[in-house]
Symmetry: C2
Subunit: 123 residues, 2 copies
């Protein structure tokens, strides 16, 4: 992920309709959902939605495939986690966020400090 990709990704996520679409797609997971379903669920005219899906797709946050008459969109989690990695590696400081790779478990571990007030909710 370079700065251009990150800018495009943030641009995609900075628009309410697109963020809502993305969060809805997250719920559909790897299976994804057809454009029409998203359009109905979020009450967005199909052409307006198409414009935003195109934007999201171009930025890399969603991917699509045709399935019969429908076009199925799904969130690109790999890209999204790449964005999170970029934020930690290129936009933060080691005191506040660090990242390391756990090769055995094939994942990245990010440690975010509770810089000022500890968060109370999750155990």
């Amino acid at each position: 992920m370079d700065i251009k990709e990150a800018l495009a990704a943030f641009d995609t996520l900075s628009q309410e309709t697109r963020l809502r679409v993305f969060r809805l797609l997250v719920e559909y997971g790897q299976a994804g959902a057809p454009a029409g379903t998203l359009s109905e669920s979020l009450h967005i005219p199909h052409n307006t939605l198409s414009f935003h899906l195109s934007h999201m797709s171009h930025a890399g946050l969603v991917v699509s495939r045709r399935e019969g008459r429908s076009i199925i969109y799904r969130a690109n989690f790999e890209f999204f986690s790449g964005l999170i990695r970029y934020m930690v590696e290129d936009c933060c400081r080691a005191e506040f966020a660090s990242i390391r790779n756990d090769h055995k478990r094939k994942c990245s571990i990010i440690e975010l400090s509770h810089c000022c007030q500890p968060k109370e909710n999750i155990s």
Copy 2:
């Protein structure tokens, strides 16, 4: 962090000048840097910079304090890590990103899967 705050944060980060300012401020760490230094370093006219700093400040990504004639800006790491938490908790799926709090070390641990591989292999 709610969706409105996240949208404003993404909006701030989606503009090249602002992202460059933010990344520069990250280098200055907790000490921060005066507006003039940022203006010179990045070759941005002071009024244009002021517009963007105001935008960033309003979104919560930077904070400022006056020091003599200068106004010192610094990156708000707490807010930024809050944004990362929001992305993991509200915009991702447990298979790809999970978060837990380590109370003893006062930090959040995020685990990002390397999802290029099939997703089933996470235990």
